[in-house]
């Protein structure tokens, strides 16, 4: 941990967004986003739908392209250089709302695909790593099944394990529990909490405010493409400053 902190101090932030703008046609989805994420930080991003939260984290591994400003991930600026994009994506894991597991591959094959083909890891090693992470998300017995044979909660845990197999420095979560039945949300959140405790740098778009209180160092509220407010969870939930934040919190916490 000490070395990691030293590294972080030496390297500066893991993710640095400065003056980032993005448009969909005429629609201004991201307005002047400035965000700096330190190693080991756990950030929860919330806000009404259409506020640009997903778009923002998808810019970090360039699933979306920003049109103005700078995004630097691990000291590498994201430009149109495909090699740099691929290099960044190897270090940044992502978990999607719809899991996006590969349905034609078994759980084990889902987990080992990228380590074998991207990291050029020998198959045996990749499978050992995969098994380690399957145990961590508590479904090692499902290794030989296909995604379609698993429940939503299990699929999302496989998706988390799949991202972890690449040994990423940062994990992005894009509403990881929004597509789940209520009784499965906890099993996924438990895995995420464990991950946070182990010191993973996480950016998480979610409406699970309990999760935000438990693990986040910082909560970011976005609205209309802007970061409206950010603060430590205690401050954020108890003393929101902006009217928009207050309104949003009253809507999601009191119904």
């Amino acid at each position: 941990m000490a070395t990691a902190v030293q590294q972080a101090a030496a390297q500066g932030p893991v993710i640095e967004m400065t003056g980032v703008h993005k448009w969909y046609g005429q629609f201004h989805v991201l307005r002047d986003i400035n965000l700096s994420v330190a190693l080991g930080e756990r950030i929860v991003i919330c806000g009404p739908s259409g506020s640009g939260k997903s778009t923002m984290i998808r810019c970090i591994n360039r699933l979306e392209e920003h049109q103005k400003g700078r995004i630097v991930v691990q000291g590498i600026e994201l430009t149109n250089d495909l090699k740099q994009i691929d290099a960044t994506r190897r270090e940044v894991g992502m978990v999607f709302q719809q899991f996006n597991l590969f349905p034609h591959l078994t759980v084990m094959e889902n987990l080992t695909l990228a380590p074998i083909w991207v990291r050029k890891m020998p198959k045996k090693d990749a499978e050992a790593v995969a098994m380690k992470y399957l145990q961590r998300v508590r479904i090692p017995e499902q290794a030989d099944k296909y995604p379609g044979q698993l429940s939503g909660g299990q699929q999302q845990r496989v998706a988390i394990a799949r991202a972890l197999c690449m040994n990423p420095k940062v994990m992005l979560f894009d509403e990881p529990t929004s597509a789940l039945d209520p009784e499965m949300i906890k099993e996924v959140l438990d895995v995420m909490i464990e991950l946070a405790k182990d010191g993973m740098t996480m950016l998480c778009v979610t409406h699970e405010m309990g999760f935000a209180r438990t693990v986040a160092n910082r909560v970011i509220f976005m609205d209309k493409g802007e970061i409206v407010e950010q603060n430590a969870p205690e401050e954020f939930f108890n003393h929101p400053k902006s009217e928009r934040t207050k309104l949003f919190l009253s809507q999601i916490l009191h119904n």
Binding site: M94, F96, N100, W117, R162, M166
Partner: protein, 366 residues
């Protein structure tokens, strides 16, 4: 009867014999009055059509080696015609004494195809097996080495010709069609325009005109010194045509893959080639196996069009067999025989595609 049971629901009994042949017949053949009518009508049609057909095909047919005069007195089919002419039909004008070579060549080709059907063998080395198999086929057919008499391609004919046109057509057109389909979806305008132009142009003209152009127009444009083999020209035309059709089928498959699959692959750091090869194409092609096989079957039968550029494929060889004045009366037998050969191959393709669909989906069902 169900009404009675419904009024006295004290005892839960299993419904009357849902299993067994009677249960099956009741559920599937006689479930409604309309269904009963259809069943009886179908039986009637079969009873009316089947006996005469079987009489002609089998019971009254003339088998073995006999003179055409004997056939003329019989009521049934004259299979003696096939006994007499099967070598001409199957091997065309290939030198009679050397016809063991196309027999072996066809066997090698079919063996290789059956071998390739097993998914366990879908490895990189299968490509080497195919190269070896095609080399064996070519060596046997061409000769000129190992003391085999050289036989030019203009003497090739019948089943080996049809098979090699179809097999090489499939093997080359399929990868080409994938490239075209990817090209048509590419963001690069030149690649996309080329793919669109190619597909629309080739798909928009009949195969016959392509064959004509390849056979008669191409030599006009090329200098006299360059002579491209007629078989090769027909083969290229078939490949180009099939690739254009298949490309649209493959594109349909690509469109059925949700965006999330691309995103997940990209987020893991997979490059474009890896993403396509490992994630997108396996799913896309699986989704369109029925129309792909449909195209293959159509193409297999379309190889008979090479007859118009004087290649003696299976069908033209049959026509030549029929043109013998002694046997001219028995053209129906000739066409039934050749139809049967086409049917065997097409039916195999159809059955294999069903098997493939089932086995590929097996793990994905809940």
């Amino acid at each position: 009867m169900t009404a009675e049971e419904a009024t006295t629901p004290q005892v839960e009994r299993p419904p009357a014999s849902v299993a067994g042949p009677w249960g099956w017949a009741r559920a599937n053949l006689f479930s409604t009055p309309w269904n009963t009518f259809l069943t009886l009508a179908s039986i009637a049609v079969l009873g009316w059509a089947l006996p005469p057909a079987l009489d002609w095909l089998i019971f009254n047919a003339v088998w073995g080696h006999v003179k055409p005069e004997v056939c003329k007195q019989a009521d049934g089919a004259c299979w003696a015609f096939i006994s007499e002419k099967y070598r001409l039909i199957l091997f065309g004008r290939y030198p009679f004494k050397e016809q063991w070579r196309p027999v072996l060549a066809v066997c090698a080709l079919i063996a290789m195809i059956i071998f390739s059907c097993n998914r366990r063998f879908w490895r990189a080395w299968l490509g080497a097996v195919w190269l070896a198999g095609l080399a064996i086929f070519g060596t046997l057919m061409w000769g000129g080495v190992f003391g085999l008499m050289p036989v030019e391609t203009n003497l090739w004919g019948g089943l080996p010709l049809t098979l090699i046109l179809a097999v090489v057509g499939v093997v080359v057109a399929f990868p080409l069609s994938i490239l075209l389909a990817l090209g048509r979806r590419s963001r690069m305008p030149i690649v996309r325009s080329f793919s669109v132009a190619y597909i629309e142009l080739i798909r928009g003209v009949p195969l016959i005109s392509l064959l004509f152009m390849a056979s008669f127009m191409l030599p006009l444009f090329l200098p006299n010194t360059i002579k491209i083999n007629a078989l090769l020209r027909a083969q290229v035309a078939i490949i180009m045509f099939t690739a254009a059709y298949l490309a649209e089928v493959v594109r349909g498959g690509l469109q059925s893959i949700p965006k999330g699959q691309y995103e997940a692959a990209q987020a893991l750091g997979l490059g474009f080639g890896q993403m396509m090869w490992k994630v997108v194409l396996p799913q896309a092609i699986r989704a369109v196996i029925p129309p792909i096989v449909n195209t293959f079957i159509g193409m297999f039968k379309d190889t008979s069009l090479v007859a118009i550029v004087s290649l003696t494929d299976l069908l033209l060889a049959t026509k030549q067999a029929i043109s013998d004045p002694n046997w001219r009366a028995f053209f129906i037998e000739g066409y039934v025989f050749v139809a049967f050969i086409y049917f065997i191959f097409c039916f195999f393709m159809s059955k294999y595609s069903q098997h493939l669909e089932k086995s590929l989906r097996a793990g994905e069902r809940r």
